[in-house]
Symmetry: C2
């Protein structure tokens, strides 16, 4: 038996382990100091009451023979797919329910979708980016090339027709940079993809943070996208489901090539390697789309958005260049005084006792940049910002 | 962009669709007749009270900031892995907690595990068998060969040293045949695998149905198995979790080859393409291992086991040859009068209004055989058995 040798080519991702390690060492050496963590992209507010109530009801259904649910549809229950369909309708995107697949999270589907593509595709990934786009493709032995996201293009690279790509990853609002494409900019990517016969894998996990007009919440807001794009989204950041696990993937029927329908291939893949999301969790997710649920998750999102604004204001005050903060829970800042990412990490840790994430961990163009997240509590965020101001003003 | 052409080589699995279609047509033509379904391998009894109570408590935890859970460990929470570890200890198998990976079900892991193996492995699959072993490998372009399971070998094929295989699937108690290997027989497979340098993918989803001494509940009961086997198990049939979705995969540290550790490769795979099972569901699953939970699931299993015994007694009375029924929820019978699988399906449907599953749908050696399941209610099973007796006695 031969193991998959491609695993040798995946960089060991020490980023968050190294961050945790340095923070732990600091805490051990300075037990009297309170370290504030704005490093991890995980939510902290509890599930909305409407979701909790729906989860309890679904648990009760599972306790009684008459309402007990065994195997559900691979692609998700109709009640949830209809809710997602309506959600898209509100942003002006018309979908059929069978173009929507419920999953246990965007990360799973973003990795597993690669099963439906041949190995000999060239994959275009922005740099810096969420590391799993690269790792999942390297694991499968695919060629990965990069689109440079830089301060000069506002970390929003646009298509280069000299580059030949088959599979294109776009994450908007972006993790880690927080930069978000406009509908117009996405239309240019759609045009490029259609001309090249490429597919766009569009990660919309942070769409609910968008508040500015003109920015895209779905790639399908760009004309022609249904012919060339698959969209991945999640309840993780929208409704605090990081530990509750539910997401969805949209594959329009119009996405066809060479006699294959992407929608049918994915259905076949899921029917063979997946057995659906827990009934209980799907009921909880469906409650997000009720009027009550929408009002409640907006309250939670408002807390994170306010945190982001507080961090962004701090950077404005310090004259530090950044992306994100307005339509994203992430603030991606240029380290002051041309410091390296890890140098700035150590400065914030040692002098302000604030933990963030070094940009260098997200790709070569991340060097010299730094990510702060808005998912902490209001108080933690306020205190962290005061400390950062104090440290950086005195330099 | 090129889609994965291997999908063209996957047989469209019309089995259950065709079964449902013929049953629906019969019902439409005979609205006065009550059709009894013993075809599908899905549970019907509700979740155990201990599980329900744990699920409710976990939902309550998610409602409060102080106990809310965000991202959990990719490999599952310690509380559940410790429960699984103890469960194995009771069957005489010592595992380390970090050899256990919690998943959303055995089916997902049985498919996804292939990511850690190279494409150029030859895969040995019993025929007949659960169709996804074949389909997942064909999807990845691997060569699949078959081990013949027949009436002559009691549907328990043994190793043939002339056959060169790299990846070997064993499902025991088997789906669809209900046949179960003894520890001694598995030891022969382990010996073969070690001699060939092969890995055994052991599907133990039905282990909780084993009641006879000497039959294996885990492949690790066979000496040397930790060096060559990965075991997949699930709460689906053990605790009625088919719609609740939780399973586990065991990868011993001793399973190494060519500088690779299977355990580490799988951890890297899961960290990249998976984000863990819902906290709520893991709490429910952990309750299965409490004294209360164990007592309650045994009551449910006793109902299904009694149903299996009732069907088996019926076959004994009719002089029909079968496997399963004793250590399995499945009864795999030889169709009387040398009927074909679908011919017997039509006979039972038309004359007894009982729906089962034609064996031909599970592989070429399934032709002439038929699967009945014990997952119906006590009353349905008793009535179905009476009807089958009446029809087959009068022939």
């Amino acid at each position: 038996m031969k193991f998959n040798e491609n695993f040798k080519d995946i960089a060991e991702n020490y980023l968050f382990a190294e961050v945790a390690d340095r923070a732990a060492k600091y805490t051990a050496a300075h037990p009297d100091k309170k370290v504030l963590k704005l490093g991890i992209g995980d939510v902290t507010l509890p599930l909305a009451p409407a979701v909790i109530s729906a989860l309890h009801s679904a648990v009760d259904e599972m306790a009684v023979k008459e309402s007990f649910k065994g195997y559900g549809p691979y692609e998700g229950y109709g009640f949830l797919r209809e809710g997602i369909k309506d959600y898209y309708k509100h942003m002006g995107v018309e979908l059929a329910a069978d173009e929507i697949f419920v999953s246990d999270g965007a990360k799973s589907d973003l990795g597993n979708i690669l099963d439906i593509f041949a190995k000999n595709n060239t994959v275009l990934v922005p740099d810096p980016v969420y590391p799993v786009y690269v790792d999942t493709n390297v694991m499968a032995g695919r060629k990965v090339i990069f689109a440079n996201a830089t301060k000069e293009n506002g970390f929003l690279p646009m298509p280069d027709y000299k580059v030949e790509a088959d599979v294109i990853y776009i994450c908007s609002p972006n993790n880690p940079t927080g930069a978000a494409y406009s509908v117009e900019q996405l239309a240019e990517w759609v045009k490029y993809a259609r001309e090249k016969g490429a597919v766009i894998l569009y990660d919309a996990a942070y769409e609910s943070f968008i508040s500015e007009e003109g920015l895209a919440r779905s790639i399908y807001q760009a004309e022609g996208a249904k012919e060339c794009a698959i969209e991945f989204c999640s309840f993780s950041k929208t409704a605090g489901f990081t530990g509750t696990r539910c997401g969805y993937t949209v594959i329009p029927h119009a996405l066809e090539s060479n006699g294959f329908s992407a929608n049918k291939l994915w259905f076949r893949r899921q029917a063979t390697k997946f057995n659906g999301v827990p009934y209980i969790i799907q009921r909880g997710a469906a409650a997000v789309f009720t009027a009550e649920g929408q009002a409640q998750i907006k309250e939670n999102l408002a807390v994170y958005k306010r945190n982001a604004a507080v961090i962004a204001e701090c950077m404005d005050g310090l004259g530090i260049w950044y992306t994100g903060g307005k339509n994203s829970p992430y603030i991606w800042l240029k380290c002051p005084d041309d410091m390296g990412s890890w140098q700035f990490f150590d400065l914030l840790l040692n002098e302000a006792q604030v933990v963030g994430t070094p940009g260098a961990g997200f790709g070569k163009n991340g060097e010299g940049f730094f990510r702060l997240t808005a998912f902490g509590s209001k108080d933690t965020t306020a205190e962290a910002v005061e400390r950062i101001k104090r440290v950086l003003k005195n330099r």
